[in-house]
Point group: C2
Chain length 376, copies 2
């Protein structure tokens, strides 16, 4: 993997860059749609490319390990071959899901024991094991195995957890560096800064993570219940420590406003289930504000879903029709809304990129943020 920092904004820490992987290039700042179990829910691969204009998608190691399982993924020749997505893929490490989704997890130095949320079967994830799994999945960017503590953890718990994550990181790196990719293209490993909402821990973690000098770095453990200003404070703190010449990935964040603020603080990469999950529930993000499409007020509004929108469906279908699909429980409703939201997120980061290049980012951001939060 290669990263070129193309420009840094004069009025903020926002940056424009270009990541090159064996599956193609990624223009940053970028949003990565989440393809949990190997599909971005409700979106055809072709639409993901042509309409959403996604450059990289995510796969969840925990989910893919359980279904379809490593035997299938290995036989397929990796996730790219399996799900027909031939552009870059990033996999998380499963840490977040083990701690949030699985049953009866037991944490120990060696790793995490857990029961599948699907059938209760017992499994064990260790740093080394997760590296091996991510090799089999074959993502271009692999994430280190970490513990993600709750947003309200006290300093002591957060410190203990962070130190475990650090020890696990060393083991991840050792395993990663002593193994080879399986499918003939290269993979890279991103370590993850933890430390909850504590400045001392975040500082310590960012310094430790930076010391590995990997090709990119991630910030984890945010947007897990802490106040937003704490999140922004931690991002700023960490980004002042992480190397400037490497991409920075803020995991699992967030709303369109969160993303713009984090871009201003120097974040380059984002992922979040919000555009698809909220889309499936009828919430649309637009440049003018937020639409709850199930609302009675759209019943006879035959204007396009989003006249300023960037997916072909935005102009093709009306608000009244999309509302009807949701009210009638037609699956086309969630499909359209998910695709709209993803196309909007990709437009948003692409536009941020253009504004940074033009030197107008902060002005643009401050103006559009006022609109983004409005309820239409």
């Amino acid at each position: 993997m290669d990263f070129v920092l193309q420009k840094t904004d004069a009025s903020s820490s926002a940056r424009v860059g270009l990541i090159t992987t064996d599956h193609g290039q990624i223009e940053t700042p970028i949003f990565m749609p989440v393809g949990t179990v190997g599909s971005v829910k409700g979106i055809h691969v072709r639409d993901l490319k042509d309409e959403v204009k996604a450059q990289i998608i995510l796969g969840n190691t925990y989910h893919l390990y359980l279904r379809p399982g490593l035997d299938v993924l290995k036989a397929a020749g990796g996730l790219h071959r399996f799900n027909a997505w031939d552009r870059p893929i990033l996999t998380d490490s499963g840490g977040f899901q083990v701690f949030s989704l699985s049953h009866r997890r037991k944490l120990r130095e060696e790793g995490a024991e857990f029961q599948s949320h699907i059938d209760g079967s017992r499994h064990f994830f260790s740093p080394e094991g997760v590296m091996d799994i991510e090799r089999v999945i074959g993502a271009d960017i692999m994430m280190a195995f970490d513990e993600c503590p709750p947003g309200d953890s006290d300093n002591k718990y957060a410190k203990t957890s962070m130190e475990l994550t650090h020890r696990w990181l060393k083991r991840c790196v050792d395993r990663f560096d002593s193994t080879e990719p399986l499918y003939g293209y290269s993979q890279t490993l991103f370590p993850i800064v933890q430390g909850s909402g504590y400045r001392d821990l975040r500082t310590q973690s960012a310094e430790y993570i930076a010391s590995f000098e990997r090709e990119g770095n991630a910030i984890g453990g945010l947007a897990v219940g802490e106040p937003e200003d704490v999140m922004y404070e931690m991002i700023e703190l960490v980004n002042n420590i992480l190397p400037k010449d490497k991409p920075r990935y803020l995991m699992g964040v967030g709303t369109p406003i969160n993303i713009l603020e984090a871009i201003a603080l120097g974040v380059d990469m984002f992922d979040c289930v919000m555009p698809t999950r909220n889309g499936r529930n009828g919430m649309l993000f637009t440049s003018q504000g937020i639409i709850n499409i199930k609302n009675e007020k759209w019943k006879k509004d035959f204007s396009p879903i989003d006249a300023e929108g960037h997916s072909a469906y935005d102009l093709m279908y009306s608000k009244a029709y999309l509302r009807h699909l949701f009210v009638a429980g037609e699956m086309l409703g969630p499909q359209i809304a998910s695709q709209h939201n993803l196309a909007f997120y990709l437009w948003l980061v692409g536009e941020a990129r253009q504004q940074i290049l033009a030197g107008t980012f902060v002005e643009w951001k401050d103006k559009i943020i006022k609109q983004l939060g409005q309820r239409l």
Copy 2:
């Protein structure tokens, strides 16, 4: 509406024709995807055109009347404007749903009283009322309001029901002929032959229906539980009576084999929920046979969904991936399978058309039917 009979097969009653409506042309024989509540479940309008190659779709009067309701449809300027489908639409009359889906229906000479299956609200459908509703929906082809008796009805019930349907037809025609379309394009009304599996009743009904000399005629009340040979016998009988220079529409039928046999008996138009409903359950129709994609045997079969298939997705995704989507409950699975099945149905009738034109239809039909029923 205009119909040109372009060719009749020398070795069967199969026909090739061209229907012209104000929303475009329809090459027959044709299959019409069912867009129950105004959307063909899981299929974007663009894919319905470009991938499925649908020329006309169905809307269900009963469902559209309940949701979104006539006020919305009228305000939208009709269903075409509402659901963004600008090619021809056919609406059934709601008769079938009133008798199969609604609660506490009461049948009387005037019409049918029923309670909505959604909220129990009370409604009344009369022949005149249904004509008015179908005017508001604005389909290019409207169906007459009929009673559809169960497949095992005795001759007496079937006769009484048929006679009611005939009296209702007269009222439908009177109302239709004394009203105008609402949106500036023309609509036409198809009457429906009933009579269950009884030769005497089917003969009587076909003669009565033919006497109206409408622009097209339909055969209803088949594929409702009667043996297949009875269905074919009734189709043959009725088609010998219905005028040859008008399109014949066999309502709600059926499997790929049913469709080819009915084409051989002189049917021009078909609709059925089978490709979408069975697709949502993981059953794929292909030219080689039927696939239950959830089957363990496809777990590591990375060959295309249908190497001979006619939707872009058939070659893009593998059987193993599609199976995985179904096993993991990902909505993309039903989307892909539905689209595959619809594209296959449209290919099947299009290929039948080509074979009729080439004079090779019966030979081709007899050969492909052996494959179509196989379980792969």
